[in-house]
C-alpha cells in the first residue's frame, strides 16, 4: 500500500492506494494519529485508489474517527466502490462522513 500526505490550506489529506490490510495498519494508525494531533481538525482520507481493505484497516479508520471526535474535528472519507461496499456491509457508513470524490470533500470543509 502507498500512503501520501498532502495539505490543502489547513486541511490535511492522506491519500492511500493499493491494498490496505493488517500489515499496513500499525503504520497508518501512527501517521493518522500524528496528523490528527498536530493538525487543524480537518482531515480527508482519500481511499479512491484503494482496491481492498480488511477488518484491521477498518479498525484504523475507527481509531482515527474517535481521535478526531475527541480533538474535536472533522474527518471525511473518500471511498472507492469496493471500499464503500465493505464499509456499508459492516454498517460503518452510519458514523463516517463519506463523499464520492476529493473535490467534494474539500468543498465540505469550505475550501475553494
Amino acid at each position: 500500500m502507498v500512503m501520501n500526505e498532502q495539505k490543502h490550506g489547513d486541511i490535511d489529506i492522506v491519500a492511500l492506494s493499493g491494498r490496505f490490510v493488517m500489515a499496513d495498519a500499525p503504520e497508518v494508525r501512527e501517521r493518522l494519529k500524528a496528523l490528527i494531533d498536530d493538525g487543524q481538525g480537518k482531515l480527508v482520507i482519500d481511499m479512491d485508489q484503494v482496491s481492498f481493505i480488511d477488518s484491521s484497516a477498518c479498525a484504523v479508520l475507527i481509531s482515527a474517527f474517535k481521535a478526531m471526535q475527541l480533538k474535536p474535528g472533522r474527518l471525511v472519507l473518500v471511498t472507492s466502490p469496493v471500499v464503500q461496499a465493505l464499509i456499508e456491509l459492516t454498517r460503518l457508513h452510519t458514523i463516517f462522513e463519506i463523499l464520492p470524490a476529493r473535490p467534494a470533500a474539500l468543498e465540505a470543509f469550505g475550501a475553494p
Partner: protein, 479 residues
Amino acid sequence: MDAIILADRKGQELLPLTGSTCVPLLPLAGKSVLEHTLEALVQAGLRQAHIVVSPHAEAVKEAFGSGERWGMRLTYSTSRGEESPSQVLAGLQNPPSVPFLILRGDVVRSGLINSFLAQAETLDVPGVQARFSGENAFVMLCRDLRHAAFDNLGWVETRQPSAQIDLEGAVAKLDSLKNFHQANLDAAAGRISLLLPGLQTALGMTQGRNSEAYPQNVKQGVALIGAYCSLHPSVEFNGEVVIGDNVIIDRRASIENTVILPHSYIGELVELRNAIVRGNELIRVDNGAVLKITDTFLLADLTVSPINKGLGEVYNRLAGLVLLLLSLPLWGLAGLLVLLQRPVAPFSKQLLRGNKIKLDDFGLPQRAEFTAWACNVSVPVLRYLPRVLAVVGGDLRLVGALPVTVEAALQRTEEWEKFADQAPAGLLGPTQLAIPADAPDEEKLMSDSFYWANFSIRHDFRYLIQAWQALFSRKAWFS
C-alpha cells in the same frame, strides 16, 4: 425527470417498531411507507428515482430492488442517517440533472404530485416546495442545485424562505407512535387517500388475497385486512381497524381502533383498544404503555418459532465432543503443566456471553452468560483448552466470533458495533486465530463484523483448517 427520495430517518421516535426495521419499510395500511411514495411517483409519470437510505440499507434494497415491480428504475446510496438534504446531495456519486424532484420517502402524503409539478413548472425560481392543506409535504421541485432551500425537506426541519404551492391533500409525518397509528386509521377510513391493496368484500371491509374473513366481523366502522389472514367468524371489529398480512385472530377477540402489524397472532377473547400490535408487543397509543406479552395464548410473533434449536446446534455440540476426544492427550499435558507451574490456583474462570437464549426479567430474549474456565499455564493452546467444554455444552459454537463479557457487550451501543453481536460466539474464528490478544478492541470488533458480514459454512471450514495448522505453530505453544 430525476427524483431523489430521502428515506434515511433513524426512526428513534418510532421505537420499538423501528428496533428491527427502518421507517421506509414499516407497514402502513397494507404497504410499506416507501412504497406509497413510489406509487405517487409512478402516478405522476416519473420512472426513475434515486433512494437515499440508512440504516438497514440492505433490507430496503432487497425489498425494492431495481424497481421493476413498479415500472421504475431505482438506484441507491447511503447516508449516516438524518443528514441534511444539501449534505446528501453533495455526497451523491451522480448528481441529478436539473430540474429534478426531491421528496421524503419516510413520510406519507396523499396529494397529487403531478398537480404540484404542473404548477411548479410555471414558476421561475430555484426551488418550489409543496404544501398539502397547509402542511409541509416534504416535496420540492429544484431548478438550481446551489440556491434551492433543500433543508426544508430535512427530517430535522429547518425553515428557509422558499417559493411554495399549497394544494389539497394530507401529510402524515409519522413522527410518533400515535401519529403512525392515526395515519394507518386515516388511510383505512379514506381521510388520507392512498392506493390500498385488496378488494371490498362487505360493507366497511376490504381484504387482501387468500384471507379468510367474514362480513359479521365488522360490527361498526371500517376494517382493512391484509393478505393471508385468518379470522374466526366470532371476531368483532369496531371503529377503524388495520390488519397486516399473515395475521391470525382467534375466537371472540374484540378489536377497536387498532393497528395489527404483519405476522401477529391475537389470542382467544383478547380485547384490544387504541393499540398497535407487532408480534407479541402491545403498544397503547392512548397512554403510551409498551408491553411485551410472554403468554403466547394472548399475543404471539408468528415469525419466531419457539425453542427451535435447529440441527446446527446439534452438529456443533457433536463436533465439540469429537474435539474433546481428540484433545485428550493435551488435557494430560495441561494437567501436568498446571501441577508444575501453578499447583495452588490451577484454574481461573470468567463469565462470558454465550449463544444460549434466556428470557430476562422483562420477558425479552437475551444471550445467557456461561463460565469460561482457563488453565493457568503459559502455553496458549493449553490455557484455553477447557473452552472445548463450552462447545459440548452448547454455550459456544466451534467456529464463531470472539466471546465477550456482558459488560463489554453493553458498551456496544452504535449500530456498527452491534452488528458483530449478531454473530454467534465461537471457540475458534478469525479473531481468535489472527488478531493478537493485545490488539485494540475495535480491531477485534471489526474482525468479528467482517466474519459475520461474509459468513459462510465454507469459510468456517477454512478457519477449522487454519486452527489445525496453528496447532503446530510456535505461537500456539510459546506466548
